[in-house]
């Protein structure tokens, strides 16, 4: 298999937009192509991610639409949907297209637009990522899914609502340093702890927001990437699944797919958790970050809450997690999130992250979780 590098990244401002998701993607893609210093005609294929376009924008067949709006109407395209892990799944497949020798330069990413529809409609569409027969019928929501996980973690390990609040405070602190973040405002523990319950024990400030935005990456084979001094190598990309049903999870306090994908990714890259300098992981809810820091091997099971409380995951801490502000503060346009996380890690490894730069970062990890923990992707990146 051939080595693959990320040679260009582009991300729109995250927040509210009055443009369609495919327009947002095209903007991010143009930025990524310019960042790669390539002619647009060098792009040989598009792997495009979007989740709710059919429901919220009455738009399917988005791959060719995105390519058309970009000005590349003839390249082959494929649309991906893996709930919130959508564009990370697209990334893995784009990487395989290059690794296998089918193409030399591939564009990958995604976009989402949901702030054009009412919150209860967005909540309904996101719930479509859980099972329609047994889960949607009882009124399970995504905050509800992670509330079930949070209570199990609290019962088993004594994790507290205050420890979860520390995750939100830290990611908002990081978001202030990211000009593209949806929220660039610090919050306090009190802000989180006094916010209203959405799904007990999760409160409003334990939850990431609804977000419009797009993100894109240009991937290239080694012979192309060698000419690009800012190229960052994709060392590994692994996907794992778990049962779709919350009631079938072996242990609600763990995300087994994270553990499986991480083990495979570390093996593929020849790395261990201790080698990782900077992480972008899936903090759709504060408890999700705590469980992910355990599942990725940074902290022992049950100690992710303590790590958050002690500040070990902040910039300057033992293992900086979500320097971008994470989904919590940067925002979570679900079809764009995986690609946006990779864009942040590439920016960090290039040493171009400005005020939120993790000094000397050489190895980075991205983790994206889809739906009710049924899909997880973990990728590792590095510089020579």
């Amino acid at each position: 298999m051939r080595r693959v590098a990320v040679i260009g990244v582009g991300v729109t401002k995250f927040g509210r937009h009055d443009r369609t998701s495919t327009e947002l993607f095209a903007e991010a893609a143009a930025e990524a192509i310019r960042d790669a210093d390539l002619a647009p005609s060098a792009i040989q294929a598009l792997y495009y991610g979007n989740v709710t376009g059919g429901e919220g924008e009455r738009q399917l067949h988005m791959g060719p639409l995105a390519a058309t709006l970009l000005g590349l109407p003839t390249i082959p395209t494929t649309r991906f949907e893996n709930a919130c892990a959508t564009s990370h799944a697209a990334f893995r497949h784009a990487m395989m297209e290059i690794a296998s020798g089918v193409s030399d330069v591939v564009l990958v990413g995604g976009a989402e637009r949901v702030l054009n529809i009412p919150t209860d409609a967005a909540t309904e569409y996101f719930a479509y990522c859980s099972d329609a027969s047994l889960e949607q019928t009882v009124g399970l929501t995504f905050p509800g899914v992670f509330a079930l996980i949070a209570r199990a973690h609290m019962d088993k390990y004594g994790t507290t609502e205050e420890q979860m609040a520390h995750v939100a405070v830290k990611n908002h602190r990081h978001g202030v340093l990211n000009p593209k973040a949806q929220f660039q405002k610090e919050i306090t523990l009190d802000t989180v702890l006094k916010s209203a319950y959405v799904a007990d024990p999760l409160k409003l400030f334990d939850c990431c927001p609804f977000t419009d935005g797009g993100a894109a990456l240009v991937l290239a084979a080694e012979h192309v990437a060698r000419k690009k001094p800012r190229a960052v190598w994709a060392l590994a990309s692994q996907a794992a699944s778990d049962t779709m049903f919350m009631h079938e999870k072996r242990d609600l306090s763990r995300v087994m797919a994270t553990e499986r994908a991480a083990a495979a990714a570390y093996r593929q890259a020849g790395k261990a958790p201790a080698d990782v300098d900077v992480v972008e992981l899936h903090d759709c809810f504060t408890i999700a970050e705590i469980v992910a820091t355990e599942g990725l091997g940074f902290f022992e099971p049950g100690t992710g809450g303590v790590a958050a409380e002690k500040g070990w995951t902040g910039l300057g801490g033992k293992i900086p997690v979500n320097p971008s502000g994470g989904l919590k503060a940067k925002g979570h346009p679900i079809g764009a999130t995986g690609a946006a996380q990779i864009a942040e890690i590439v920016t960090q490894l290039r040493g171009e992250a400005g005020a939120r730069q993790v000094e000397g970062a050489r190895t980075g990890l991205t983790h994206t979780l889809g739906g009710n923990t049924a899909t997880v992707l973990v990728s590792l990146f590095g510089r020579d």
Partner: protein, 126 residues
């Protein structure tokens, strides 16, 4: 054509009649809801119907206060993962139990929640 001992449609028809029904693997004894083709445990494809008592205890629960579209009038409502006495678990809506008395370990009993054509899994006081 393969004969399915249970489909989702039949699961809900049985549930509507008050009978909670799963499937049991003829090789390893694993119980499952919803029905599968292969047993996730032993890969066998040899299922039998498994009537369940519907008795169980709450493993984890949440009180949902922000509901999806069309369910605002129902909120706040509780959803729980319940471990049934036969050993498998099932997600359901909690009914007729005061929200402030919910706790993990609380014994509950299956009941069908019927709204028009739709049937959902519910659990009430044991």
């Amino acid at each position: 054509m393969t004969e399915h001992v249970l489909t989702l449609k039949r699961f809900f028809e049985e549930a509507r009649a008050g009978r909670l029904t799963g499937i049991r693997c003829g090789k390893c004894g694993e119980l499952a809801i919803p029905p599968k083709e292969f047993c996730a445990g032993c890969q066998e494809r040899n299922w039998a119907l498994a009537p369940l008592t519907g008795k169980g205890a709450i493993t984890s629960f949440t009180v949902i206060r922000i509901a999806p579209r069309g369910r605002a009038a129902e909120a706040p409502y509780a959803v729980a993962v319940v471990k049934l006495e036969e050993g498998l678990s099932l997600l359901g809506r909690i009914v007729d139990i005061p929200l402030d008395t919910l706790r993990t370990g609380l014994p509950v009993q299956f009941r069908a929640l019927v709204t028009g054509d739709q049937t959902a899994v519910g659990f009430g006081p044991s």
